[in-house]
Every structure is written in structure tokens, then in C-alpha cells.
Symmetry: none
Subunit: 267 residues, 2 copies
DNA sequence: TTTGGCGAAA
DNA sequence: TTTCGCCAAA
């Protein structure tokens, strides 16, 4: 028996908006401690990890560990039927091949239940080792989203370079080049508007903008995004979900070609 | 000679937005008592009835009964040229084959007149008998619209079931099932937010969501919608137009198939 | 083209 | 604070 009651149902709606473009089908893993998901994107390049800890739910009952395979598109369709202020309860009976989403309007006048078939998905659950990162950038998520969107109108990849002074996002394309530098800035009114850089050593890595823009779909989940970089490690783009957990995206850097190579015709 | 001056011109704009998708061409009937329309939708499944009583007009002159055939798409195009605060005057000379829409901006700075050709439309004007309904549901129109929209992302038809406690909207589709229950609730701050059920006997009827969603286009006309249901009778979905009349939509219920039938392949 | 999110104005 | 109108994404 599984019963998870989430008062701020909009969180789950936003989570699905954030990951449904990247992942088609995935197993949601439910244990006594929380509700989580780990899945490769459909082209097996990026990895998504979601955690919603039990403390974040008003009511959390999960009698035994269970893995529920869902089509995220269909799940999203159903969650779209929940109001932004609705309380969402997720239910599954032991051994059942369905899951039920229950939506309660704030004033309890409207109660909806949506039942969805579960699917069998074989997923390789990867252990993600904790790593030391050369540089960790924390910045406003909206600013990061804007930068990725802007740069993708110029080029396909972004070079993220971190120095003590700030973080630079660069791209190059047919029509020209672009560099956007965000300086470290902690003297701002609101802490979520700060740009903070923790750097052990300078790092400069290249990523596909297409994926960065997908990750930025999670912007509504948090005012702040944290980007953790190390050479030779996948970047981690993390959006914290207040009091509950996070959505993290992992993406391997592109092996940076020689600048010269870039302009040569591909052989 | 016909001359109808409507101070709140936005009403006429909203009326056309509400019915233009359903009906292509229709006769507007004008008599001493009011301005009305009755027409089947283009696939002859639903019926639209509009009434704007003479009291609602600032000036109402209609010397003799007249029926004016109009293409609602073209009429809507013209009405879109009126500002939301404009005063709209509708004029037709006796024997003329045109109608003139005059738009006056609130400050009288701009006065526009649009002349449109009338058309000959043979319409069967149905007498709609007053009927006793098993159940009448009054609820916020926005909520009804939201429910129809949500359900149509799951299935094609909606089963509306009324009991004393509330009204239930259900659907079933490939990805799952959905039930939305709205409880009777009269203890709300504003009367237009109430959900009120007058029920003589329980009723459960099935309708095509496609039409319900068309009807819901009339939502801007009224905060409230009234749904009148009887087995064997078309449902009436009514949006009252304050101080003037109404737009009513009629739709025959689907003959509900056996649950078993639904899952069998169609022969 | 239509719909939802966002920002501005009452 | 709520509502309207604008802008952007599906």
C-alpha cells in the first residue's frame, strides 16, 4: 500500500514539466524514505535524478519498496488536470498494475481521481558517486535559462569557464560568437539573486546547448540553480526543491576540439 | 427600419465568439421584443439558441419582424473591429440586403461603420418545448470549462452523473480513467462561485466532449453555467446574459453502450 | 491559431 | 491583491 499526500501539488506538476521532454518512460522508486527517480534521457546522453523526501509530504505511507513504471507523457497529461493549488495524493495498492492520482481543490469542493496503467520498464539504476568538483556555481535559475536560450540562437555548444571572478558562457556559430560573463555577486538584496562561485581550480568545459535548454525547463522549481563542474566528470545541474529534495541533471562534457579543428570541414 | 443600440458592445462580441465555431450561417430574428437566433451546428447535432431582449438595449427599434441571414464568421470579423468598450449599434433599412454595424468609442472620438451583406438562409425554426428536468446543476462556468478541457485530454465522451450530493464528470481513454466530483456547495463567499444542484431524480448521461468544449466557449458571457439534464432529453447548457437573455446549447445524449461493448473491437 | 504564463495596472 | 492584456510556446 502506497499513499503519498503532497499539499503543494504544483511541485509535482513542475517536476513533470521539467523532465518529461527528456525522459519518456521511467520507474518511480518509492521507499520508506522518499520518492525518487533516476533515468537516462531517451538518447542515453543525459541522466535525470529526482528525489522527493518523505518529510516533504503531509502524509507518507510506503509499506514496502516499490518501483512503478510510468509513461511520463501520460502522467503529465493527468497532472495537468490538477489545479496549481490542488493537493495531490498518489495511491497504489500492493500488486496493482495501476496508480491513482487524486486531486483535491483547496476548498474541497472538487475531488478528482485519475487512474493510470503502470508499465514494465527495465532500468539500469546507476550508482552516482559523490564527487569533489573543481568549481560550483550558484546563480539565479532564470538567468541561467536566459543565457542558455540566448546562446543557442548563436551556436550549438556552450563553453562554461569558471574563474574566481566569475563564470563565462561562450558559444560560436556561423553568424558569430558570444560570451556572457556573470561576475560573482553576493551583495545583492535577496540571496536567491546572488551569483556565488566556489572554486578549487579553474575549469572550462563544453556542453551541448540542446541539453542545457532541456535542463532549464526545471527553472520554475527553484529560484536558484547550482552547476557543479570538474574536468572529466559530467556536469551536475541541480534545482533544489524546497524542503523536499532536488532534480539533478548530469551531462558529460564534449571533448573540446582544437579551435582550429572547429572551422575545418569535417573529414 | 431596425436600429438596436447596445451600450455594452462587448456582449455581442462575446456572443459571436461563443457560437461562431459551432454555426457557420444563421438567421438573426428580430421582433419588437428582442433579438434572437436559433440554429443547428454545422453537423446538425447540437442546437444553439440566443436571446437578447429589447430591455437590454439602450435604444431598440424594430418596426416589423425581420429575419437576417448572416455568415457568423464574417460577422465576427467585423465585430472584432469593435473595441471592448465600444457602443455597438446594429442597423438595417427595410428591404435592404445589408446590415450595418456601427462602433462608437467611449469618448466618441472614433466612429466606425461596417456594412455586411445579408444572405438567404432557409432555417427550420424548431419549437423547443419547455421541459421538466430530472436534475439542474448550476456551477461556476470557468470550473465547468476546466473540467471539460481536462477530461478531453483523457477521453472523448463524458458521463455526467447527478446525485443529491454532487455532480460527477467521468471519462475513460487509452491512458486511463478520470472522475471529477463537484460537491454541492452554497456556503461560498460569492454566489457565482456556488455549486447548486436541484434534483428530482438521479440521472447519468453521456455526451461528446467535443461539443461540451465548444459550448464552453461561452464562458466569458457569464460566471455561471446551468446544466439541465433528463434521461431521453437533450441536455441544456445555458449561459445567462445579464439583464438581456441567454445563450443555450442543446445536445442529445449518446446512447450509452454496455461497458463490455466498449472494449470489444468494433466490427 | 490557440493557450498558458507573465507582467503591469487598477 | 486581483484582474486584464501582452507575449511566447505548443
Amino acid at each position: 500500500m502506497l499513499e503519498l499526500r503532497l499539499v503543494q501539488g504544483s511541485l509535482l506538476k513542475k517536476v513533470l514539466e521539467a523532465i518529461k521532454d527528456l525522459v519518456n518512460d521511467a520507474n518511480f522508486d518509492c521507499s520508506a524514505t522518499g520518492f525518487s527517480l533516476q533515468a537516462m534521457d531517451s538518447s542515453h546522453v543525459a541522466l535525470v535524478a529526482l528525489l522527493l523526501r518523505n518529510e516533504g509530504f503531509e502524509h507518507y505511507r510506503c509499506d514496502r519498496n516499490i518501483s512503478m513504471g510510468m509513461n511520463l507523457g501520460n502522467m503529465n497529461k493527468m497532472l495537468k488536470c490538477a489545479g496549481n493549488d490542488d493537493i495531490i495524493t498518489l495511491k497504489a495498492d500492493d500488486g496493482s498494475d495501476t496508480v491513482t492520482f487524486m486531486f483535491e481543490s483547496p476548498n474541497q469542493d472538487k475531488i478528482a481521481d485519475f487512474e493510470m496503467k503502470l508499465m514494465d520498464i527495465d532500468s539500469e539504476h546507476l550508482g552516482i558517486p559523490e564527487a569533489e568538483y573543481h568549481a560550483i556555481v550558484r546563480m539565479p535559475s532564470a538567468e541561467f535559462a536566459r543565457i542558455c536560450k540566448d546562446l543557442s540562437s548563436i551556436g550549438d555548444t556552450v563553453v562554461i569557464s569558471v574563474t574566481k571572478e566569475g563564470v563565462k558562457f561562450s558559444t560560436k556559430g556561423d553568424i558569430g560568437t558570444a560570451n556572457i560573463v556573470c561576475r560573482q555577486n553576493t551583495t545583492v538584496d535577496k540571496p536567491e539573486e546572488a551569483t556565488v562561485i566556489e572554486m578549487k581550480e579553474p575549469v572550462s568545459l563544453t556542453f551541448a546547448l540542446r541539453y542545457m535548454n532541456s535542463f532549464a525547463k526545471a527553472t520554475p522549481l527553484s529560484h536558484t540553480v547550482t552547476i557543479s563542474l570538474s574536468s572529466e566528470l559530467p556536469v551536475v545541474v541541480e534545482y533544489k526543491i524546497e524542503d523536499m529534495g532536488y532534480v539533478r541533471f548530469y551531462l558529460a562534457p564534449k571533448i573540446e576540439e582544437d579551435e582550429e579543428e572547429d572551422t575545418k570541414p569535417k573529414v
